[in-house]
Structures are given as C-alpha cells and as structure tokens.
C-alpha cells in the first residue's frame, strides 16, 4: 500500500515538473513599440544623413572662428575640400599618418546650400535643391543591402548652435522605408509636425506612421509625438504608451 502511495505521489511530482517555459505572453502595445522603435531608427538615419551634408555647408560658409569649432566638434578626422574649378566638394578621412581616403563627393552648381545652391551627393542618391527659398532634400538611398529609404523633405531651418556645440535641423515631409527580406516590410512616415533634430537626437515632431508586412498584409497605424527630452508618446490600436531610446 505504501509503495502504491509513493508511486502515485512520485508520478504526480513528475507530471508537475513538465512545465519548462512560461512562453511569451505579449500585449498588443508591444507590437506598437516595435513599430515605434523601427521608425525611430530610420528617422535617425535620415537625420544623420542630412546632418552630414549640412555640416559641410556650415563648415564652408561660416566665419573662421566658428569654422574651427565645427571642425573640432564634427569633422576632426575628416578632410573637406571644395574645388571651385570643378564645383566639387570632396570629403575624406584623414589617417594619423596624414594620408587621406576620400569617400564622398558632392557636385554643386557653383553655389553653397546657404546661397541657394543645388547639391548632389554622388553615390547616395541625395539631392538638395532650393526653389524660391524653400529648401528640399530628396533622398533615394540604399541604407544597406536590404533596405532603401526614399524621402522628400522640406528643410525649414538648419544651423550650428555655438552654445550647445550641436547641429540643428528642422524638417517635415514624407519618408518611405522598404526593407526587403524574405518578404517586404514597409514603413510610411508622414510628418505631421516638423521634426526637430539637435545634439544627435530628435526633440520634437509629430508623425503618422503606417507599417505594412507583405507576408500577412498587416497594416498597422501608429501616431507618434516627440517631446523636448526625446521621449516618444505613441498610440496604437487604442493603446497609448511612452518610451525613449
């Protein structure tokens, strides 16, 4: 009898030991988090892309004192050479031994951006034009082997903040991201209120984001707002949350 009882108890213990994982129970808002995070990643790429171009214009046009500061803060290991005979700006990396590896050229129409010029960044599919005082950046660039960013942005203002030692840019427009893997992921970002970018982060703006995954044809819509501290408040399928990256 005792044996039987012990056998039954040990069998029950064995059965209770069967749970080996809690699984991954998620809330719908976590999907929204994912979309927000991916949007943030791509907005930063676009903003950094703009920064890298505008900083050259600022470097070439500003007064010598500020020019030195910009160089020290942002272009320390770089070489920026403007060849006015060919209207070409060459950007390169300067090694410790003094040798330079040029990695980017910008074709200008003879004018700097601040003078209303048109710049075409070779190999990057980025063009910046001015028309009637409205500066427009058109981006058709491959970010990596799988993804492409297409954007048409209206640049409202840009500059270098001496006090913060930081580059600022404010822009609005539409950004379209395509990531091609086994299936296609797309992200359409419609800027409702201008994006403000400073000190390497976004500190303002409102966005309507639409995410689509071709395999399941899911369409998810997220509304995002940035506050001045870089926090993102977003709503997704009736859920709201705040996050910061």
């Amino acid at each position: 009898m005792k044996r039987t009882i012990f056998f039954c108890i040990s069998t029950l213990l064995l059965l209770t030991s069967c749970k080996v994982g809690n699984g991954e129970q998620r809330e719908p808002i976590e999907v929204g988090h994912g979309i927000v995070h991916w949007t943030e990643e791509n907005l930063m790429k676009v903003s950094n892309m703009l920064e890298s171009i505008f900083i050259i214009d600022l470097y070439l046009t500003t007064d010598p004192a500020l020019r030195e500061e910009i160089f020290d803060e942002r272009l320390k290991n770089s070489v920026v050479e403007y060849d006015t005979t060919t209207n070409t700006i060459m950007e390169g990396y300067r090694y410790v031994d003094g040798t330079v590896d040029y990695y980017r050229t910008i074709a200008t129409d003879g004018l700097l951006l601040s003078e209303g010029g048109t710049w075409r960044v070779n190999g990057q599919g980025t063009t910046i034009t001015s028309d009637g005082g409205v500066m427009t950046a058109t981006i058709n660039t491959r970010i990596d082997d799988n993804s492409q960013v297409d954007a048409k942005l209206r640049i409202e203002e840009y500059g270098y903040d001496k006090e913060k030692g930081a580059f600022d840019v404010k822009y609005d427009g539409d950004i379209y991201i395509v990531e091609q893997r086994e299936y296609t992921y797309t992200l359409s970002i419609d800027v409702v209120k201008s994006i403000e970018y400073t000190e390497g982060r976004i500190v303002g703006g409102e966005l309507d984001v639409e995410y689509n995954y071709s395999a399941t044809e899911h369409i998810d819509k997220v509304y995002m707002t940035y506050d001045k501290d870089g926090r993102i408040s977003f709503s997704y399928r009736g859920y709201t949350n705040t996050t910061q990256y």
């Binding site: 213990l13 064995l14 069967c18 994982g21 719908p28 994912g34």
Partner: protein
C-alpha cells in the same frame, strides 16, 4: 531554477520508492541470512537447515519489464527541441522582423521528458538483451498577440525504438549495478519538421534495488535523458 528544483524533487521521490521495496525484500529470512553471512561457510551450512524459498526462483528471473522517466539531458533536449525554444529565447531581434516576432505570443511550454518502457530477456546471469521504447513530447501553441486567436501548435514528439544490451557488473541479492547500451531508430514528429533518425541511449551507471519488483536510478546519456528513475518487475513465464 524552479525547473531544476522540480527535477530534483522528482528524482528524490523516485529514490524514495526504492528503499521501501528493499525493506520488504530484506525482511525475507533467507535473503537476510545470505546478506548477514550465515550461509557462507560449510560449518554454518551444517548447522542451519536449508530452507526453501520462492526467492530462490525469483533470483533467476528471465523476463524483465521496466518503466522509467528521465530528466532532460543535453542530447535528449536537443533532439526534442533544439534547445533554443525551450528557454523561450528570442533568437532574432533586429527590426523589423522583431515587430512580426512580437505579433505572436506563445503559451507556457510543457514538456514530458523521456518516458521509457523496456523489456529484457536474461541470456545468462547478469546479461540481458531486449528492446527499449521511449517517448518524449513538448506542447506549446502560438497565438496572435492582438486578436488572441490561436494560430498553430508547436508540439513535438520523439518516439524511439531501440535494441538494448545490459550488463550487470555488480550483483547482490537485491542490489544490482549495471550499464547498458541501446541502438535503434527515432521518429521525430512536429508541425513543420520531422523524420526518422538513428538513435542511441547509454546508461553509464545504473542501480536497481529489489528483486521481483524493484526501483532503479540511472545516470546516462542519449535519448533517455541524463538522470533516470523508475520501477520494474522481473518474472518467469512459468514456475
């Protein structure tokens, strides 16, 4: 941690059964005499009359059936689950694939580690040949995070059938220590994968306590798991 604790408790519970079995068997007078050395000399043989006991027959059992359960081992876990899924690890978390990953939730994962049923035939004292069947399964389902709708099951089942050879390298009346090797085939069944594969199981050290009914614990590797325990019965087909 909780998972490990449960396995330890389970193995201890298995061990608890074996002393009870042993206690009952050792109460048999003849066996007690043997263990205590009463019948080891010619003198004592003369003094003590030989008493017949059914245990004399029982220690020459030909058939052996055992039922066991094995705690997961590295190999058995890999064969069942490829390890990664059991720990709920998210293996890819780059965006945007992470968005799709989050769109799916999974239920708690339940696993029955290796259950085994074995039959052996005694070829000669201490050497058994037979067959061993094992089963292990894991159950979990995936559902849509947003709608809560059940999408598909992630269940997997391993069913193995192997030939088994066992050698007892220490034999006492009620205690036996042994090693064994099993070779055969295993069927792996799951939603998106499956197949038939050669399989093995090895018991490095096994300890059984009892005569007709006995409990056993083993340490081994292979599809049977790492530490195993269970109960068995030895018998003859006719008296």
């Amino acid at each position: 941690m909780a998972r490990k604790l449960r396995y330890i408790v389970a193995v201890v519970a298995m061990l608890c059964t074996t002393p009870l079995v042993a206690q009952e068997v050792i109460s048999d007078e003849l066996i007690y005499d043997r263990i205590s050395g009463f019948m080891t000399t010619a003198d004592s043989y003369d003094i003590m009359p030989v008493r017949k006991s059914k245990n004399i027959k029982e220690i020459r059992h030909r058939h052996n059936i055992r039922l066991g359960y094995g705690a997961p081992g590295l190999f058995s876990e890999f064969m069942l689950d490829n390890i990664g899924m059991a720990c709920d690890c998210a293996l890819h978390f780059d965006y945007p694939s992470a968005i799709e990953h989050r769109r799916h939730s999974t239920s708690p994962r339940r696993q029955l580690s290796t259950l085994s049923l074995q039959y052996s035939y005694c070829i000669k004292p201490g050497f058994w040949l037979g067959a061993k069947g094992t089963y292990a399964g894991v159950w979990q389902y995936t559902y849509d995070t947003i709608t809560g709708k059940r999408l598909y099951d992630n269940n997997a089942h391993n069913i193995a059938l192997m030939l088994d050879a066992q050698i007892a390298w220490l034999r006492r009346d009620i205690v036996e220590m042994y090693s064994s090797l099993s070779l055969g085939l295993m069927a792996h069944i799951e939603r998106a994968n499956g197949g038939l594969t050669p399989m093995f199981d090895a018991v490095f050290v096994g300890l059984s306590v009892g005569r007709k009914c006995y409990g056993f614990v083993e340490v081994g590797a292979g599809i049977g798991g790492s530490v195993r325990g269970g109960i068995g019965i030895r018998f003859n087909s006719k008296n």
